[in-house]
């Protein structure tokens, strides 16, 4: 039987931006990310995954994971864990790492990739993973795309998908993506939740939290339960994640807008946002954005500094395949996939 491998990208840099100062956003500790990977491995192992191929993760993530792995005594020692392999790669400590790690995982034919990070980390992974199913776990603070979930449970679900032990379809969701084209360069970038034009001229501290600087945004879905631009869009016209269309918003300061909505724009920050116009964006449609001297923000982070002569269009496209954890576990229960073990049993607990 072929070895089943699952990739893990745990971004050590998520959760430390300036919103801790300006909005009181939470801190997601790297030791907890390491602990999450350990719990994830327990779930993956229980589902029969043989190997975890992980991006090198400094800043305390690896140390925490090693402490947990080294501390497995007693009942934990009896639990089957996948083998852990950390990719041997040059580390830049920026988004190039996630991109390179995902490419290496694809070459190694991993059956799924589990991502621990915020919208930004998922954005980078999604741009490089092709149709490898993602399990999207939130460790950032302002996340609309990944879910806040117990890693053990997510591990079981990702493992069941990776080992192909369930029959039928409907276990994966096709997400949407926004492809950004700057001056004709289609490979420029992409986003999973939103692309926004802000008058903030510099990328600076990156986080987008001054709503009144945003003139325009395109969102893939508009969820009333989200934080940020997706919530702004939802207050005007909710768009379910499963819907094929998206939304294009024109925004203005509240005193100059016909509609003013009050939404959580960042963790700890509920603010008024003025909406001038909201239009449906159909699949494949390219929306030209009005150029300004400012920045283009992708999934809540300022990424590109633009001048008035830059031409930007955003196209709503098909995005990554994401594991539907609830659907997988419900199917597993119906098919009794977790009753007994398909693998040689570890010693009885």
């Amino acid at each position: 039987m072929a070895t089943v491998s699952v990739g893990v990208v745990a971004n050590p840099a998520s959760g430390r931006d300036v919103r801790r100062l300006v909005t009181g956003a939470s801190v997601f500790d790297n030791a907890e990310k390491g602990a999450m990977v350990h719990r994830l491995m327990a779930g993956l192992g229980a589902a029969g995954v043989d190997r975890v191929i992980m991006m090198p993760a400094g800043s305390g993530v690896s140390q925490s994971l090693q402490r947990h792995l080294g501390g497995r005594t007693g009942h934990l020692a009896a639990q089957r864990l996948p083998e852990l392999e950390v990719l041997d790669m040059v580390v830049h400590e920026d988004e190039r790492d996630s991109a390179a790690a995902v490419r290496a995982m694809a070459e190694r034919r991993v059956a799924a990739i589990v991502v621990l990070g915020g919208d930004g980390t998922h954005r980078v992974v999604a741009a490089h993973c092709g149709d490898i199913p993602l399990c999207a776990l939130s460790t950032g603070t302002n996340n609309a795309f990944p879910e806040l979930r117990e890693a053990t449970v997510a591990g079981v679900a990702a493992g069941l998908v990776a080992t192909a032990r369930l029959e039928g379809d409907g276990l994966l969701r096709r997400e949407k993506q926004l492809q950004v084209n700057v001056n004709g360069d289609v490979r420029r970038d992409s986003a999973l939740v939103d692309v926004a034009v802000t008058t903030e001229r510099w990328v600076g501290a990156r986080a987008l939290w001054r709503a009144d600087t945003i003139s325009e945004a395109v969102v893939t879905f508009a969820s009333p339960g989200a934080v940020g631009l997706s919530a702004v869009a939802a207050a005007v016209s909710p768009v379910p994640r499963a819907a094929r269309h998206g939304l294009h918003l024109r925004l203005a300061p509240p005193e100059r807008a016909p509609t003013v909505v009050t939404v959580p724009f960042a963790p700890g920050l509920v603010t008024e946002v003025g909406v001038v116009q909201a239009r449906r964006v159909e699949p494949g449609q390219a929306v030209p954005l009005t150029p300004l001297a400012g920045c283009l923000a992708l999934d809540g982070e300022r990424e590109l500094e633009l001048g008035p002569s830059d031409r930007v269009t955003v196209r709503l496209a098909e995005g990554p395949l994401v594991i539907d954890v609830d659907a997988v576990l419900a199917r597993a229960a119906r098919q009794r996939a977790l009753n007994g073990s398909a693998r040689p049993r570890a010693p009885t607990l």
Partner: protein, 330 residues
């Protein structure tokens, strides 16, 4: 929450001033690197080249009556806080015209009138002083702010950790800036920081907010530091700002840097240069011409030339100066 204006509206004059400060620090350090090799400069010199965006981006938010406490790598902080560049150069040469009459040298350069409490030979020596600044401002009811600078190595010192605790307990108007340049002297941060390379984690243990920014990007430092300082000034309490950065030279002048990879510094100079990045940003935004930046470069080069020439020509302290300025009379 208190916030500052984003730098979007900065005037051309302001952009050029920031550039001038960064260029002055760079030129000062590059020149010292050359001059130190001749053997004319007494004592130790630790150069700040590569880290200019931090001193400039943080200190531009401070007033004359705010205080900073610096490190052994203190020239950049002193220049950004407004210390006289010629007097600094003379000080480093150990001359009577120096900022501290030649008695401090590079590692004890100070100008209290400018709110610069001194470079500091003691690693982790600055943060407790800044607690004092904060306590003083709080008791006197002023809205002054204190900012300490510490390296990644210094962040392991008890003094640094005790200061974070004291500042949190007393809710002091202080900002603790960590310049994480990747090395504590010759030891990589990968090996010296127990809980991983995130120095910002130190803040969590004391209940302070902590943020990380790219220390090569002036605007990133400017924005985050502006928020931290405005928060402190407005009574919001202390915070920690970790700036990820690189130094272009060794720990000290003469350091053989055998702990660095071949080509590491050349690569950093090529890809991680705060002055290049700033120039690219402001010129491509159409706010400043390349020619205007070049003029600043020339003026700064002349200033440093003059400062070095003056320092070399300046008189040595006299034996009769030995006991002056040694003790402060209260």
């Amino acid at each position: 929450m208190t916030t500052t204006a984003p730098p979007d509206q900065a005037s051309k004059q302001q952009l050029l001033e920031w550039y001038r400060t960064m260029r002055t620090i760079r030129e000062f350090e590059e020149r010292l690197h050359k001059e130190f090799a001749t053997g004319e400069i007494p004592g130790f010199v630790h150069l700040y080249a590569g880290e200019e965006a931090i001193a400039t981006g943080v200190i531009t938010h401070l007033r004359l009556d705010d205080y900073i406490a610096s490190t052994h790598r203190g020239h950049g902080h002193a220049i950004a806080k407004g210390c006289d560049v010629r007097a600094m150069m003379a000080e480093i040469y150990g001359k009577r015209d120096g900022l501290c009459h030649g008695k401090g040298g590079s590692m004890h350069i100070a100008d209290v009138d400018k709110g610069m409490l001194g470079a500091n030979g003691i690693v982790g020596g600055g943060p407790p002083m800044i607690c004092g600044v904060g306590l003083s401002a709080k008791i006197r009811g002023t809205d002054q702010v204190g900012v300490s600078f510490t390296g990644d190595g210094g962040s392991n010192q008890g003094t640094f950790l005790e200061s974070l605790n004291l500042a949190a307990v007393w809710h002091l108007p202080c900002v603790y800036v960590v310049e994480n340049n990747g090395y504590a002297e010759a030891t990589s941060v990968k090996y010296h920081a127990g809980a991983g390379t995130d120095i910002v984690k130190r803040a969590d243990g004391f209940g302070l907010p902590g943020v990380v920014v790219d220390g090569h990007d002036f605007f990133a430092v400017y924005e985050a530091a502006g928020e931290a300082i405005a928060r402190a000034r407005g009574g919001g309490g202390p915070s920690l700002l970790e700036c990820r950065v690189n130094r272009y030279y060794g720990h000290f002048e003469g350091d053989q840097q055998t702990y660095r990879a071949p080509g590491e510094v050349e690569e950093l100079r090529r890809t991680r240069d705060c002055l290049d990045l700033f120039a690219r940003q402001v010129t491509s935004a159409g706010l400043v011409d390349a020619e205007e930046l070049r003029r600043v470069d020339e003026e700064v080069a002349r200033l440093i030339d003059d400062a070095v020439a003056d320092a070399k020509a300046a008189p040595e302290p006299d034996p009769s100066d030995l006991l002056t300025d040694v003790y402060v009379k209260y």
